[in-house]
Structures are given as structure tokens and as C-alpha cells.
Symmetry: C2
Subunit: 197 residues, 2 copies
């Protein structure tokens, strides 16, 4: 495989990195659009073979997501750290923490999320990426409520978290100066008042 080297140092060294590929790919995506950019374009711009590119990323759609799965462990830990809070609050806080980024990384995050949430192909694909993220939430809620992750409450919790993230990001992307945690908070309040009608 690409990243997780079993025997470090042994064997032919890698010729590139995910970071480098993403740098090149985002440049092309922004320049020519996601759909118009072919895997060949990215591979040759990165100076690697197309086949190698597809070993670093399972599909073209996965490139904009970068190292998303690697953040899920931290998300799990974050959830556990709120064990003393009510379940809904714990999930909400963890989701907000999940969306905290250093100021220096915000501009890049905006570009990435705008690309993902405005490109139909990537919008569709996002369900599959968010499925893992939702599973983390469902498993946490199931554990805390002594139920199955597939049960109604854990599934509801994970779907609510996704819905809040979607509306939150919509607002965030529409306002260049918006603060992500603040926007997610507003989204929750809005959802509460909508359902309490």
C-alpha cells in the first residue's frame, strides 16, 4: 500500500506524498474545475504514474478528502472526553471540536469544503465518507445508551449531527467571515426551535 509502511526503510522509497499530490491536485481543481481535471492531468503534474496515483487514493473523488479517516480516531477520543455530559451535548461538543482548525488552516479548509460541497460528484461521494464519521457517533451513542449502533436513537444522533454539519457548512461557506463553531451552534438552536414549533 501507499502510506502505512509495514517495514520502514526497507524496499523502494516512495516517490511522492499525499500532501504533494493534494497540493498539485487542488491547484488543478481550482484552475480547471474538478470534472475537467483528469487523473492523467494530476498524475503527470505530480510527476507520477496514473496507477500510482490510484494507489494513494481509492478514487478521484477521495482526493479532496485528504487524510479524513485519520481524523476519526481523534474524533472518537474527543467524544469519550465528554463522558460526563449528557449524550446529545457530548456529541455536539465533539462535532464542534472536530471542526476547529488553526487559523492558518482555515483558508485551505474553506477551499476544500467549498469544492466538496458544491461539486455534485463530490456532494454525492460525501455520503460515503461521512458514513464512517456517522458510525463513530452511532457507536458512541450506542455505547452510552446500552443499545445497538443500528438502533433508532444512535442513528438519529448521527443523522442529526450530519444535518447540522450540512446546514452549518452551508452558512459558513456563504459568509466569508463566519466562524464554524458559532455557525454550528446557531444551526443547533435553529433545529431545536424548528422541532419545538
Amino acid at each position: 500500500m501507499a502510506s502505512p509502511t509495514t517495514h520502514p526503510g526497507v524496499g523502494r522509497p516512495v516517490v511522492t506524498s499525499r500532501a504533494e499530490i493534494e497540493r498539485v491536485a487542488f491547484h488543478l481543481f481550482i484552475e480547471n474545475g474538478f470534472v475537467s481535471t483528469t487523473l492523467d492531468d494530476i498524475a503527470s503534474a505530480a510527476g507520477i504514474g496514473r496507477r500510482t496515483l490510484l494507489r494513494y487514493y481509492r478514487s478521484k473523488n477521495d482526493i479532496p478528502w485528504g487524510q479524513f479517516d485519520d481524523t476519526l480516531d481523534g474524533f472518537r477520543e474527543s467524544l469519550r472526553s465528554y463522558a460526563d455530559r449528557p449524550v446529545q451535548e457530548a456529541v455536539h461538543r465533539a462535532v464542534i471540536d472536530f471542526n476547529r482548525f488553526p487559523a492558518a488552516a482555515m483558508a485551505e479548509h474553506r477551499v476544500r469544503m467549498r469544492l466538496i460541497l458544491t461539486t455534485p460528484e463530490l456532494q454525492a461521494h460525501s455520503v460515503l465518507r461521512y458514513a464512517d464519521w456517522r458510525r463513530v457517533i452511532a457507536e458512541y451513542v450506542a455505547e452510552r445508551t446500552g443499545t445497538d449502533p443500528e438502533a433508532l436513537l444512535p442513528q438519529t444522533a448521527s443523522q442529526v449531527a450530519l444535518a447540522l454539519s450540512m446546514t452549518g457548512y452551508g452558512e459558513w461557506l456563504a459568509d466569508e467571515h463566519a466562524d464554524l463553531p458559532a455557525v454550528l451552534e446557531r444551526a443547533l438552536l435553529t433545529m431545536r426551535s424548528y422541532l419545538a414549533d
Copy 2:
């Protein structure tokens, strides 16, 4: 184009119908799985050319959705019929009505939705199909609250409706004897209690 004939009767008549294509396609999907069934398989089984098949459906992923867009007008009307109810209740009732099917059609609907919601490719694609459905809700809520469909409340309403549908269908598919309207009602109650924690 395929279905909407501008000058009825004039020109070469159609050789098939969406209903016929779907009948054949579902048979193959169930027999061999969605991914393993190629467009060529479907086209030849339906006795039409692959090119013709792709005129009836924009993509392979759209085939399982059948005439979904055609139901959106009825959905819009259904929403309007609840103008005397509070917004959230109106949306909820319309969503439940949207998911009412004659008993004879239930078995087919189960097969269709199980295929869509358990096939990763179709799960992903569903976002794009549900986007139109969500837009109907957002526009309705925007109209009733005097806001823009892109504003936070309309978007929240539409995302909540989607989340409820997703959890509802999950429960419904897991229980062969479940009633869709009843399950959607339970999903709403669960979401309310989760958020009121």
C-alpha cells in the same frame, strides 16, 4: 427526448417504456447485483440499444429511482394543503403522505428502497436525487416564513426531513412488518427527545 412528446403521435413511436425497462432492470439487479449488471445487460434484456437506454435514464444510478421527479409536483401540492398547520407539522405530514403507498405497491417499494439504500453507489447518488426533494421543502418553508430558501431555517427543515427519512427507512427496512408512516412518526419523536435532552 424520451417521455415528454411535444407532438404526440408524430414521428417514430417509442419501442419501450420506463416501466418495461425498470421491470427488466430490477430483475437483473436482484439476480446479479447492481454493480455487476452492465448497461449492455439491461439494454439487451430490454431489447433496445444501450444508447436508447441512456436516453430514458441519465445514468445507471438513476434507473432505480424510476419516475421520482414526477412525484415532486404532488409533494408540493401536499405541502400546500397543510397551509393551516404550523410549518414543522405541515412538512412532517407532507413527508408522511409522500411515503404512503397502496398496499399492492409496498413490496416493490421495499425492493427499490433496499437496493438504493444498501448499494454504496446508489447511496451516494441518492443525495443528488434527494436534493430536488429537499429544495421543494426549503422553498415551501421559505415561502411560509418569508425568507430565502437558502436561509438557515428552510435548510434546517429540509435537512431534518431528510434525516428523519433516512432513519425511518433504516428502521423500516430492518423490520419486514413495519409501517412506514408509523416509523417516520417514531423517528420524529426520537429526534425531539434526543434534542431536548
